[in-house]
């Protein structure tokens, strides 16, 4: 096990998981001296009837110590300051004392913003922007993710847009972390297959990158391996049998583990390109991840082949691992990921994209035209995750990877510029 010269690991979030995990929300609130939570969510979640399950689980607790104080179910996908202020106002008027965020990234970011306002007072979120500006414990907050992938319930960052001035305000502080993340299989049961696959592969990417990038550490390694095993072993089954609650829970667990791993060890090339593609062409994050993952591993192969080789075990199981000669394990691992993408592609009747050129929006239009690649590469050069990637990248390198990924052909390893020694952890 590699012990780096120095590492940090922190996961202040309590994880509660299971088929009936929602019922634990109430005792958790009581533990934190809260009685009257406010639920923050978006239309999609509310529309799927998930809020009903959550609120009944909270209210039906023994002794009736907790009850839902208010529900705000109108968080838009690109939430901003105004929404935060609006929700905070509702929170105050209903005298709530804690927050439950049900949903994905946008809901969670909004909830974090609301928590800052209602805990620290005032209406001005600006003064808390930046890293480390929030220095006090905030109100109890519980996150209930409805997709298994983003891992945003484990991150200490919140990004909230100010549409008036057209800026995105980052908030970074350990106190922004939710106190508890509740993973309940009921919350992801109704997720459509395409979304299931992309979020699952998103989590898989987190884990794979956490294991192979610069800031890896023993804790993130352990969690990443566990995550890969859970996801790789279950995703196909769940897509084929959407009602498989055990599988759903395994995916949720895997994504929580992956979230723990990557929020501490950071990620590299795959996310660098992924963020850029999302930013430039609006491709959903999960889709980008599943496309770029094999390329990211391939690009770094000359520096991290020993680590990539180890991924084969959780990805494909011990039999395949033992049967593969040592030197070929890394490439085999990448092949297994490609095969997984292919299988998912088939299982979802083509909705799971394998290559960039396959990515289509709701109207069936290609989302990433080939001439968008330079824009993507340019955006990527401004993404901080590149520093965690074991190998350096410049604009040309990005273009080279993007072109391969667009066409869907494996990377030509000869084109990768190699330099420097192996990485030191």
């Amino acid at each position: 096990m590699i012990l780096p010269e120095y590492y940090e690991f922190c996961c202040r979030v309590k994880t509660v998981a299971g088929h009936r995990a929602l019922e634990k929300i109430s005792p958790e609130l009581v533990r934190m001296n809260a009685k009257k939570p406010m639920i923050i969510t978006d239309k999609g979640v509310a529309g799927a009837g998930l809020i009903k399950i959550v609120s009944s689980a909270i209210s039906s607790s023994k002794g009736g110590k907790t009850s839902v104080g208010a529900v705000y179910d109108n968080v838009p996908p690109d939430s901003d300051l105004k929404i935060v202020q609006e929700v905070a106002k509702l929170y105050r008027s209903k005298d709530c004392d804690s927050i439950i965020a049900v949903g994905g990234g946008s809901v969670l970011d909004t909830a974090k913003g609301v928590n800052i306002l209602v805990s620290l007072g005032g209406d001005d979120l600006m003064q808390y922007a930046g890293s480390g500006a929030v220095k006090k414990k905030l109100k109890p907050m519980i996150a209930v993710p409805t997709t298994s992938g983003t891992g945003s319930e484990m991150t200490l960052v919140a990004v909230i847009a100010d549409h008036e001035r057209n800026v995105k305000l980052p908030f970074v502080s350990y106190f922004l972390l939710p106190d508890v993340a509740v993973l309940d299989s009921r919350m992801t049961r109704t997720l459509p297959p395409a979304l299931t696959t992309s979020t699952a592969i998103d989590a898989l990417t987190h884990a794979c990158e956490a294991y192979t990038c610069m800031a890896k550490n023993p804790v993130s390694d352990s969690t990443a391996l566990e995550a890969i095993r859970l996801i790789a072993g279950n995703v196909l089954n769940v897509v084929k049998k959407p009602g498989d609650l055990e599988g759903r829970l395994a995916l949720a667990n895997g994504s929580a583990l992956a979230g723990m791993a990557f929020s501490n060890s950071m990620v590299g090339l795959v996310h660098m390109l992924g963020h850029a593609t999302g930013g430039a062409c609006g491709v959903p994050h999960g889709v980008c991840m599943s496309i770029y993952l094999p390329y990211g591993l391939e690009y770094n192969l000359h520096k991290t082949s020993h680590l990539t080789a180890e991924l084969l075990l959780p990805l494909a199981g011990p039999e395949v691992y033992a049967a593969t000669p040592k030197a070929e394990r890394a490439t085999k691992a990448i092949a297994v990921i490609r095969k997984l993408n292919q299988d998912l592609h088939e299982a979802t009747q083509g909705r799971h994209a394998r290559f960039l050129k396959e990515v289509i929006d709701r109207d069936g239009k290609q989302m990433v035209p080939k001439d968008a690649l330079p824009t993507i590469a340019n955006t990527a050069m401004g993404d901080a995750t590149q520093f965690y990637n074991p190998e350096d990248l410049d604009f040309n390198d990005c273009m080279m990877v993007l072109e391969h990924a667009w066409e869907g052909i494996p990377l030509d390893l000869k084109k990768v510029k190699k330099g420097g020694k192996g990485i030191k952890f």
């Binding site: 922190c10 634990k24 350990y174 804790v219 011990p318 033992a322």
Partner: protein, 382 residues
């Protein structure tokens, strides 16, 4: 993979491990709006010059050490906690740093309870009695660190305090501080960590998160124990063992107390032997008992013990067995570890008393299991 079912997992401590870890403490404290730590340690640590290294590492920061109290005795006591809490307030401190292990950390947690709530700590005895978040607590482990210290438990004046709020906020594992002083001390820590990790790993309620930490601890110990015992001062090995202790703490804190821990702690209290020695004898016995009871050993144990190649290279049916054997082999290689409780001179009647006490402290355990494991440990496992 075992089916995890419903579970909860919580380990809030931020782990900072490696070169320069202590130098980062001021930044972490600043994140809590704290600049005035109250530092606790004991004479032994103080004599070895470690607190000086800590002070030096804090150089060039705005942090002012309110007081460096280096007289924590071998037993943590409520009255000391009271006195120190007053001291803490008089100096206007805002956070607690514990350098060391055992009573130092216990007292630090006690002081933190007292100064954060302003109440008598005795009122918080028991499970989940601490009312809310406390002031930031930083633990700087030394070689003698036990996983127990890094959990949400404290033992003051023989009373047990257990609450998630007692968990340290930051653990700074610095190679300057964790170098072992002697084989006995290394063995003690290693055996406690290993017992906690293995028990958490083999627990029926193991979940993926506790597994991740437990397997990390086992793997680090399997890799570093021999070297560490041979050369207690070796940096890499010491860091391996200290990291293992932290990981074992995370796993241990999220799993119910197992037979080895329960018996080991009581035996240690009753006979004064180091807990590591007791657990080091009890663990092989507990594994043997599992085998006798035909309880399946988890195959992943082999992976944690010997790595990927050995795991994958072993046929599926034999992995569990081989993992156990590997663990037993690890034990048999430790020359300084007594093999039986008789060798450790634990009289039978004390062993019986320990079983009674363990049952009293952990009513969920079964008496027949405890007696059987103790019986095997008395005579040793062949």
């Amino acid at each position: 993979m075992q089916s995890p079912g419903d579970y909860g997992f919580f380990y809030q401590a931020k782990i900072m491990a490696g070169t320069g870890a202590m130098a980062n403490i001021p930044v972490e404290l600043d994140g809590f709006d704290a600049r005035h730590p109250f530092v606790l340690t004991d004479k032994k640590t103080s004599d070895s010059g470690l607190p000086r290294k800590f002070v030096k590492a804090l150089g060039e920061s705005n942090t002012i050490i309110g007081a460096l109290f280096d007289d924590v005795p071998a037993y943590s006591s409520v009255s000391l906690v009271k006195d120190l809490a007053q001291f803490f307030r008089d100096r206007g401190c805002d956070s607690v740093v514990a350098i060391g292990s055992g009573p130092v950390v216990d007292v630090a947690k006690g002081v933190n309870m007292a100064v954060s709530t302003g109440a008598d700590v005795l009122g918080f005895e028991g499970v989940n009695r601490v009312p809310g978040h406390l002031k930031p607590l930083v633990v700087v482990p030394t070689a003698a660190i036990k996983p127990f210290d890094l959990t949400g438990n404290a033992r003051i004046d023989g009373r047990k305090f257990s609450s998630a709020f007692l968990m340290p906020d930051v653990i700074a594992v610095d190679p300057l501080m964790v170098r072992g002083c002697c084989t006995e001390c290394v063995l003690d820590t290693a055996m406690v960590s290993l017992s906690h990790a293995v028990e958490a790993y083999l627990s029926p309620s193991a979940n993926p998160l506790s597994d991740a930490y437990a397997s990390m601890a086992i793997r680090l110990i399997a890799e570093h124990l021999q070297k560490s015992l041979k050369r207690p001062g070796n940096k890499a090995a010491s860091m391996g063992m200290a990291n293992a202790a932290v990981a074992a703490a995370a796993a241990f804190d999220n799993q119910p107390v197992g037979v080895v821990h329960a018996l080991g702690m009581e035996l240690s209290l009753l006979t004064g032997n180091a807990p590591g020695l007791c657990m080091g004898i009890l663990l092989p016995a507990a594994l043997e008992y599992r085998r006798q009871m035909k309880q399946e050993a988890r195959s992943e144990l082999l992976m944690a013990m010997e790595g990927f190649d050995a795991y994958a290279g072993t046929p599926a049916g034999q992995r569990g067995e081989k993992g156990l054997r590997s663990l037993q082999l690890l034990f048999s290689k430790i020359a300084v570890l007594p093999r039986t409780l008789e060798e450790l001179r634990v009289p039978r009647f004390k062993a019986d008393e320990a079983i009674q006490e363990a049952l009293k402290a952990n009513p969920s355990l079964k008496k027949q299991d405890l007696s059987a494991v103790m019986g095997l440990a008395m005579k040793g496992v062949q």
